[in-house]
C-alpha cells in the first residue's frame, strides 16, 4: 500500500499551477500539521478498515512544496506514520522540494527520518523561462540545491521539467535537457505544459487569452516531446510512462502504484485514496479540513468503483506505462479475458495503429501516446 501526504504550502504560487496549494502563515501551517497528524492517527476509522497490519511500501510528500515547511513538521509526520502504520524497511519515501527553500539541516532531518528520494522542481534551466513560470529561483539556485542534496548522500533524485513553454525554441529546450543530463539525476519527469483554467497562465494563454498565439502548435509540441525522449534515452533514461523517465531501477514506485491500481491512502487537504475499491477524496477547504481532520466530515467524495470500472481503469491507467497492461494479471484478477471484453476496441485501435497487443501485453504505440486520451476513452465505459 502507498501513502500520499499533501502539504499545500508554497512560498509563491507559480503561474501555471492549479494544485490545491497556497501561501499560508505559520499559524495555519501549525494547525494544519496538527490536523494532519490527527487524520493519520485515525485512518482505521476513516477507511473503516484495520490498517495496522498493512505494509506501507511507499510514502510520498507532495504539495504545494513540502520542502518549504519546517523540517520538524516532517519529522512529526513521519513519527506518527510509523506509530500508526507498518512502513517497510525498504519503503520508497519521497519528498518534493524546490531550489532556494531547503538547507542542509532540512536535508539532514529528512534523511534521519527515512526519506530516501528527493524530487526537485526545476521546470527549466533558462532563467527567462523560470521568470515566466513565476518560479522564485534561478538555474544557479537549482545547482546549489542539487549539489547539497547529493552531498547529503541522497542517491535517488528526481527532477521535474516542463516542456513546450510559450514561445520556447528547440535550443532553449536543449539547453534545459543538456544542463539537466549533466547533473545526472536518477529520474526525470518531463511534462508538456498544460494551460489549466483558473491560473494566471490561463488568462494569457487560455481560450481568448491575450498571448495565446505564443503557445506552441501541436506539431512543435510533439517535436519537443519526441526530442526529449530521444535525447534522454541517449543518456540512459528510459521512458516508463507518458511523462516519466528513469535510469534502470529508479522508476517511481509510488507513482507506478497509481497506474497499477495498488491501494493507497491519501492524507491531508484534498488528498485522494483508493482503499477496497472506493475512491476517497478529502475536502479542499482548509478551514473545514482543520476542523474535521479526525472525523469523517473531512471526506468530500467517496466513490465506489464497480467491477466494470475497475477493469476499465486497469486498462487505461495501465496504458499510461510503456510496459502496458499485463493480460495475464488482468484475467487472474477479474476472471475475464481482456481480449474478449475489449475485442471491438482492440481491433479498431490496432487498425488505427494506436495500440499493439500480443499474448502477454497490451500497450500504446508511439502514435498511440500522441492520442492517449482517445485510446483511453475507447476503453472507458464500453
Amino acid at each position: 500500500m502507498g501513502l500520499y501526504i499533501h502539504l499545500p504550502f508554497c512560498v509563491r504560487k507559480c503561474n501555471y499551477c492549479d494544485f490545491v496549494s497556497g501561501i499560508y502563515d505559520d499559524g495555519v501551517k501549525k494547525e494544519y500539521v496538527r490536523a494532519l497528524l490527527k487524520e493519520i492517527g485515525s485512518l482505521d476509522r476513516k477507511y473503516d478498515t484495520d490498517l495496522s497490519d498493512t505494509e506501507i511500501e511507499t510514502v510520498y510528500f507532495g504539495g504545494g512544496t513540502p520542502g518549504s515547511i519546517n523540517a520538524s513538521f516532517i519529522e512529526n509526520i513521519m513519527n506518527t506514520v510509523r506509530d500508526n502504520l507498518r512502513v517497510r524497511d525498504d519503503a520508497e519515501i519521497s519528498i518534493e522540494i524546490n531550489p532556494g527553500i531547503v538547507d542542509d539541516e532540512k536535508l539532514r532531518i529528512y534523511k534521519a527520518n527515512g526519506i530516501n528520494r528527493i524530487s526537485i522542481g526545476l521546470q527549466s534551466a533558462n532563467d527567462d523561462e523560470l521568470k515566466l513560470l513565476g518560479r522564485i529561483h534561478t538555474y544557479r539556485d537549482f545547482e546549489e540545491c542539487y549539489d547539497m542534496v547529493r552531498n547529503r548522500g541522497f542517491d535517488n533524485v528526481s527532477v521535474d521539467i516542463i516542456t513546450a513553454l510559450p514561445d520556447q525554441s528547440m535550443e532553449m529546450l536543449d539547453n534545459t535537457l543538456d544542463r539537466l543530463t549533466r547533473k545526472d539525476p536518477e529520474h526525470i519527469s518531463a511534462y508538456s505544459l498544460i494551460i489549466e483554467e483558473g491560473t494566471p497562465f490561463y488568462k494569457l494563454y487560455g481560450e481568448g487569452g491575450s498571448k495565446r498565439e505564443m503557445l506552441l502548435c501541436e506539431d512543435e509540441e510533439r517535436r519537443m516531446y519526441y526530442h526529449t525522449e530521444r535525447l534522454l534515452s541517449e543518456y540512459g533514461y528510459e521512458r516508463y510512462e507518458i511523462s516519466n523517465f528513469a535510469k534502470p531501477g529508479y522508476r517511481s514506485r509510488h507513482n507506478i502504484s497509481y497506474w497499477k491500481r495498488i491501494p493507497y491512502i491519501g492524507a491531508g487537504l484534498c488528498a485522494a485514496g483508493l482503499i477496497n475499491e472506493v475512491r476517497y477524496k478529502n475536502t479542499d477547504d482548509m478551514g473545514k479540513y482543520i476542523a474535521h481532520s479526525d472525523d469523517l466530515l473531512s471526506i468530500d467524495e467517496r466513490i465506489v468503483i464497480n467491477r466494470e470500472e475497475q477493469m476499465d481503469e486497469t486498462v487505461f491507467l495501465g496504458l499510461r506505462m510503456t510496459d502496458g497492461v499485463d493480460i495475464g494479471n488482468f484475467s487472474d484478477r477479474f476472471g475475464v479475458s481482456l481480449k474478449e471484453r475489449y475485442k471491438k476496441e482492440i481491433d479498431k485501435l490496432c487498425d488505427q495503429e494506436l495500440i499493439t497487443i500480443d499474448e502477454r501485453i497490451l500497450k500504446l504505440t508511439s502514435k498511440g501516446i500522441d492520442y492517449g486520451n482517445y485510446v483511453f476513452s475507447c476503453f472507458y465505459n464500453i
Partner: protein
C-alpha cells in the same frame, strides 16, 4: 341566460404587430369581465401552450366567451377569438377573422404602426370587419400617443381621435375598451331559421371526445343530434355535444344558433375531416352554398427530421402522429438518409411552424432530433413532360432529365425607418429580390415592396433584417406563385463521401458562395480527427469549394496521478459522450449539431 339575442353578442378579435400587447389586452378583457378573478388568472390565459407563453406568440387560434355588464345596464356576451400572430399562419388568421364581426387594433404607443399592423388591418378590412384602434403601452416613457393617433389616421385611414389610450399591463383604460367593444363592434346578423351554416375556424383533438370543432354559426342552429356534413371534405357526423368556451374549459350548452361562437363534438376520429375554413351544414337540410375563402392548407417549407438515437424512430413516428391530430397543417412521410438513417420528411406552413413542431417534439415527447436544412417545394419540369414537386433535394433527377425548374416566390412588405432603407434594399437585392415599390407612409418611415424567392427568406432572412435595421424593420409576406429559376443541387462531401442530409437546392448564382460558407461552417463544427479531412462543396459532381480539417496531432494528458484520476475519468467520459452524439460518415464522425448549424450561415460576416 335570458338575454341571448344576437344584439347582445359581440364576436371580435384583437389584431396587432408582435409584442404590441395583444395577449395582455386579451387577459385584461377576460379579467375585467369577471370570467376569472385576477387571482385565478395565470398571465395570458389564451396562450395556453407552454411554448406560446415562452415565445409570447399565439400559435393556435383560441376563443373565450365572457359576459360584460355594460354601462347601458345590459349584459353582453363577448366572444374573443385570439388569432395566430405570425405570417406562417396567415390562412388560420384569415379564418379566425371570418368568424368575427369586428376587431380591436392594438398599436404600441412607442413603436407605432408596423408591417404586421398593416397586414392585419388589411386582412380585417378584407373580411369586412369593423376595426377600432386602441393605443397601448402609454405607460412607457417613450410613448407618443398623439403621434401614433395621427399615424393611425393618416396611414390606415381609420378614425382614431377617440381611440382608448391604455396600458394593458397596468390595467389602465380597459373600461373604455370594453364600452367601445359594445358600441363599435356590430352585433352579428344571421338567419336563425335558415339551414345551418357554420364556419370551422379551428379544432383540437381530445382522446375521449374526438375532434372538438371550433365554429362560428352564421345561419341556423346546431345542437346534440344534428346530422352535420362538412362541405369540402364531404364527411358526415351526428353531433354529440355543443358548447362554448370557458377559460381553458369547454362548457356544454343546449344549442348554438346564428351569431354564436362555440364548439361541437361528433366522435370525429380524424382531424383532417375538420379543416379550418370548411363549412358545416345540416346534412338533411343543407345550405345552398359553402362559405367563401376555404383553402386546403399547403406546406410551404420542408425538412427532414431524424431521431438522434436511431432506435427512437418508432417514438418519433408516434409523436408525429399525435401532433398531427391537433395540427392538420403538419405533413410527414417516412424517408431514409444514408447519413442519418430512418426519419421523416415533414412539411410546415413556414419556418416558425417548423421550429414550434421541433420544439414540441423535443419537449413534450422527449426526443432528441437532427433536422436537415429546410427547403421549399420546387417544381421540376422533366424533359419527358413529367412535373415533380420536389421536397427532398436528394430526389432531384439527373440534370440531363431536367428541362427547367420553378421556385415559389413571395410578395414581401417591409416597413423600416428611413435610415435603414438602404441596407434593407441591399439585403433584398442580395437575396435575389425584385423591387416592386416603395412609399413613405410618413416622413420617417417607408414601406418597401419586394418579390423574393421563398427559399431566400426561410432561414435567416428575418434575423438579417433585424440586424441590418437594428431591430427597426418589420416584415410580412404572402405567397405569390411559382417562377422559373436557374437552380442547382449543392452537395457536400466529407472526406470524399457525399453526405446526403447536407444537400440542398440553391440558385446557380449563389451556389459558390453558399458552398464556401457551408464548408467553412463544417470546418468549425467537425472535430479534428487523427487524419486530415477535406470538406468539399460540389455542383453536378464538380467541386466548387473546399476546406481542410487538419489532422489532430495530439490529445493526451501529460499528468495523471492519484488525486487526478476521478477528474480525468470525467474528462474521458465527456469525450466518450461527445462521440455518442456523432454520426459516422465513412471514417469521419460528424456531430449532430453540424447538420443544424449549417442552417444558420450568417450573412453579415
Amino acid at each position: 341566460m335570458k338575454n341571448n339575442g344576437q344584439d347582445r353578442i359581440r364576436n371580435f378579435c384583437i389584431i396587432a404587430h408582435i409584442d404590441h400587447g395583444k395577449s395582455t389586452l386579451a387577459d385584461r378583457i377576460i379579467e375585467s369581465t369577471g370570467l376569472l378573478t385576477s387571482r385565478e388568472m395565470q398571465a395570458q390565459v389564451l396562450d395556453n401552450m407552454d411554448l406560446e407563453r415562452e415565445r409570447g406568440i399565439t400559435i393556435k387560434s383560441q376563443a373565450v366567451r365572457t359576459i360584460y355588464k355594460a354601462k347601458d345596464g345590459n349584459e353582453y356576451i363577448f366572444n374573443l377569438i385570439d388569432t395566430p400572430g405570425h405570417v406562417d399562419f396567415n390562412y388560420e388568421v384569415s379564418r379566425s377573422l371570418a368568424a368575427c364581426d369586428g376587431a380591436i387594433l392594438v398599436v404600441d404607443a412607442a413603436q407605432g404602426i408596423e408591417a404586421q399592423t398593416l397586414a392585419n388591418v388589411y386582412l380585417a378590412l378584407d373580411h369586412d370587419l369593423d376595426v377600432f384602434p386602441v393605443i397601448n403601452k402609454i405607460d412607457l416613457p417613450s410613448a407618443e400617443p398623439d403621434r401614433v393617433e395621427a399615424e393611425i389616421e393618416d396611414v390606415i385611414g381609420i378614425e382614431a381621435h377617440d381611440a382608448p389610450r391604455i396600458s394593458a399591463k397596468l390595467g389602465t383604460g380597459i373600461d373604455e375598451v370594453l364600452e367601445q367593444i359594445v358600441s363599435k363592434i356590430p352585433a352579428p346578423s344571421g338567419d336563425i331559421n335558415a339551414p345551418l351554416k357554420a364556419l370551422i375556424f379551428d379544432s383540437v383533438y381530445d382522446s375521449y371526445k374526438g375532434a372538438i370543432v371550433f365554429i362560428r354559426v352564421m345561419d341556423g342552429s346546431i345542437k346534440k343530434g344534428t346530422p352535420v356534413k362538412m362541405i369540402a371534405t364531404d364527411a358526415s357526423f351526428e353531433v354529440v355535444e355543443v358548447g362554448y368556451f370557458g377559460a381553458g374549459v369547454f362548457i356544454p350548452c343546449e344549442e348554438l344558433s346564428a351569431g354564436m361562437v362555440g364548439y361541437f363534438t361528433a366522435s370525429i376520429k380524424n382531424v383532417s375531416d375538420t379543416r379550418v375554413g370548411d363549412t358545416v351544414t345540416d346534412s338533411e337540410n343543407p345550405c345552398d352554398h359553402a362559405l367563401p375563402g376555404y383553402k386546403k392548407v399547403l406546406s410551404m417549407v420542408y425538412c427532414g427530421m431524424y431521431p438522434a438515437d436511431g432506435a427512437k424512430y418508432p417514438d418519433l413516428r408516434d409523436a408525429l402522429e399525435k401532433l398531427k391530430l391537433n395540427d392538420a397543417s403538419l405533413n410527414y412521410e417516412p424517408e431514409t438518409s444514408i447519413a442519418l438513417g430512418f426519419g421523416f420528411r415533414c412539411g410546415f406552413l413556414g419556418l416558425l411552424h417548423l421550429e414550434v413542431v421541433q420544439e414540441r417534439l423535443e419537449r413534450e415527447y422527449n426526443l432528441d432530433l437532427v433536422t436537415t436544412a429546410p427547403g421549399v417545394i420546387y417544381k421540376v419540369y422533366k424533359t419527358n413532360g413529367e412535373v415533380i414537386e420536389l421536397t427532398n433535394p436528394s430526389n432531384l433527377p439527373d440534370p440531363s432529365e431536367i428541362d427547367y425548374m420553378e421556385e415559389p416566390v413571395v410578395k414581401a412588405e417591409i416597413m423600416v425607418t428611413k435610415d435603414y432603407v438602404g441596407p434593407i434594399m441591399e439585403l433584398c437585392q442580395e437575396r435575389r429580390g425584385r423591387y416592386v415599390s416603395m412609399e413613405y407612409i410618413e416622413a420617417s418611415r417607408a414601406l418597401i415592396n419586394y418579390e423574393l424567392p421563398l427559399n431566400e427568406i426561410i432561414y435567416d432572412f428575418f434575423d438579417a433584417l433585424k440586424s441590418r435595421s437594428r431591430g427597426y424593420a418589420s416584415f410580412d409576406y404572402e405567397l405569390k406563385g411559382y417562377e422559373r429559376a436557374s437552380l442547382v443541387k449543392l452537395d457536400i462531401l466529407v472526406n470524399h463521401e457525399e453526405v446526403d442530409a447536407l444537400s440542398f437546392i440553391v440558385h446557380a448564382d449563389t451556389a459558390y458562395e453558399r458552398g464556401r460558407k457551408m464548408c467553412e461552417k463544417l470546418k468549425e463544427e467537425i472535430p479534428r480527427h487523427l487524419f486530415e479531412i477535406p470538406v468539399q462543396a460540389a455542383v453536378g459532381g464538380k467541386i466548387i469549394a473546399r476546406e481542410t480539417i487538419k489532422a489532430m496531432r495530439k490529445d493526451v494528458l501529460a499528468k495523471c496521478y492519484g488525486g487526478d484520476i476521478t477528474r480525468k475519468k470525467k474528462l474521458l467520459e465527456k469525450q466518450k459522450e461527445g462521440k455518442k452524439r456523432m454520426r459516422q460518415i465513412g471514417s469521419v464522425e460528424i456531430p449532430q449539431k453540424a447538420f443544424m448549424s449549417v442552417l444558420k450561415l450568417d450573412d453579415d460576416k
